[in-house]
């Protein structure tokens, strides 16, 4: 499938998820069955496919390959989680087995977050080897403080979390850990933001921008869904949840942008192989044009 079509598909999924969740949340009570879960599953299937392609572009044993491998594993666990949630809703377990079988979804949720965190750390390590993303500015600390402020806010409202009343203690612990597990990748989003600033543009910076939006929007969405905002400011909560639903699509979008980078670099390398003279002429004329 042409990559332009994949991109159009991802934006369509982004819009559909946002509209669907907004419809469900405001005013609350509209039924969308489990179509949102199907959409998320589709998003992570595309993400998995793209992550596998991107990791194949990195040499075996490299840190960046490990990063994309962890992203791929995170996608796998997310697919399991959303497929399971769709199945649970379709089987009617949300009314009969909400605190038992359904609460098992916390296992793939936690595994997905752990893999995502590991992937982001590996990505950071790759840039740190170049001396990037190791010096922070006061604005980064402000962002980090803001993100950390969400954690107690969510923990205080943990009773409203979907599996806080699971029959199994392990699941309850995992659910309690989710604010922290969401906050750590969001904090790594600040690191990515610093790296992106140091990059100073380029295609890779677009990848990072999408990752950052993905990480932060999910945290904001979780906050809106479990805190008092949901009751006191339903419109705001609906917007945040719709944003969080749409944010899922930013993950495959980031992987797509990264894969497009590989495709473009391969094409350019082919041109340099077939006609190096003409390509160098073009590059040199660009340099004089820039001057």
């Amino acid at each position: 499938m042409p990559l332009r079509r994949v991109e159009a598909l991802l934006w369509a999924g982004f819009s559909a998820s946002a509209v669907l969740v907004a419809y469900r949340e405001w005013p609350r009570g509209h039924s969308i069955f489990a179509v949102d879960q199907l959409l998320y599953t589709a998003a992570y299937v595309v993400a998995l496919w793209l992550c596998l392609r991107v990791l194949s572009d990195h040499t075996i044993g490299s840190t960046m390959r490990l990063a994309w491998m962890m992203m791929a594993w995170s996608s796998i666990f997310s697919i399991i989680r959303h497929t399971f949630e769709f199945g649970a809703r379709a089987a009617g377990w949300e009314t009969t087995r909400l605190h038992t079988t359904v609460s098992l979804r916390q296992i793939p949720i936690v595994l997905a977050l752990v893999c995502l965190t590991a992937g982001l750390i590996a990505m950071w390590a790759s840039f740190a080897a170049l001396g990037m993303g190791v010096r922070f500015q006061w604005m980064d600390l402000v962002w980090a403080a803001l993100i950390l402020a969400f954690v107690p806010l969510i923990i205080n409202s943990h009773e409203n979390m979907q599996d806080a009343h699971s029959a199994w203690p392990l699941i309850r612990y995992l659910q309690s850990a989710s604010p922290v597990l969401l906050a750590i990748p969001a904090l790594l989003g600040v690191v990515l933001h610093r790296i992106r600033q140091e990059m100073g543009g380029g295609q890779l910076a677009v990848v990072f921008r999408l990752f950052i939006a993905f990480l932060l929007l999910r945290l904001v969405a979780l906050s809106a869904s479990v805190t008092a905002i949901r009751v006191e400011l339903p419109v705001l909560a609906a917007i945040a949840e719709a944003g969080g639903a749409a944010a899922v699509w930013l993950f495959p979008m980031a992987a797509l942008k990264r894969w497009q980078m590989t495709v473009a670099a391969s094409e350019l390398a082919r041109r340099y192989e077939s006609n190096p003279g003409a390509e160098l002429e073009r590059l040199a004329s660009r340099s004089t044009g820039d001057v």
Partner: protein, 168 residues
């Protein structure tokens, strides 16, 4: 004893197969000498074999007009670059920087180039030269691969080795 046809006679016979006096003498001799007639027969057989092989080889390496045009274009492009055979290492680095900036940004381009330069030069040297260029390109390609993937590393390698670097 019969005077057989000499090597010089054969050369003259094949080079100018006309009706000169020497060739007439050769023909007369061939009519009465089985040994020389056999030699002529083997010569004819070899010549026929060569003609057949020539046609076969020509057919095997036949190029279409578009392939010939493409080859010509590449030759002209290579000739065109000869004018720039004298890139200094600094100019060549600048060109590579220009190549990779749209992929990874100017900050990452600077960081990878600095890392590759540090890895390619001895402590006592500061500037890249034509001698250190190859190792610099390999290191830059590795650094780019580690961040942007093997395709970007390959691009750097191909472009880098296409630039003819001379002592500035």
């Amino acid at each position: 004893m019969q005077n057989h046809i000499t090597d010089a006679d054969w050369l003259r016979f094949f080079d100018a197969p006309g009706d000169c006096e020497d060739n007439q003498r050769v023909r007369e001799h061939l009519a009465g000498c089985a040994r020389c007639a056999n030699v002529l027969e083997s010569f004819e057989s070899v010549r026929q074999g060569l003609v057949t092989e020539k046609d076969r080889i020509r057919g095997a390496v036949a190029l279409s007009d578009s392939e010939i045009d493409s080859l010509l274009g590449r030759c002209l492009a290579q000739i065109g670059t000869e004018r720039h055979a004298g890139w200094s290492a600094a100019e060549a680095t600048l060109l590579l920087r220009l190549l990779i900036e749209p992929i990874c940004g100017h900050g990452t381009a600077g960081a990878t180039i600095n890392l590759a330069r540090r890895r390619s030069l001895p402590v006592t040297e500061e500037n890249l030269t034509s001698k250190s260029w190859s190792i610099f390109i390999s290191n830059l390609s590795d650094a780019m691969s580690s961040i942007c993937g093997a395709a970007a590393g390959r691009l750097v390698r191909r472009a880098g080795f296409s630039i003819a670097v001379q002592e500035g």
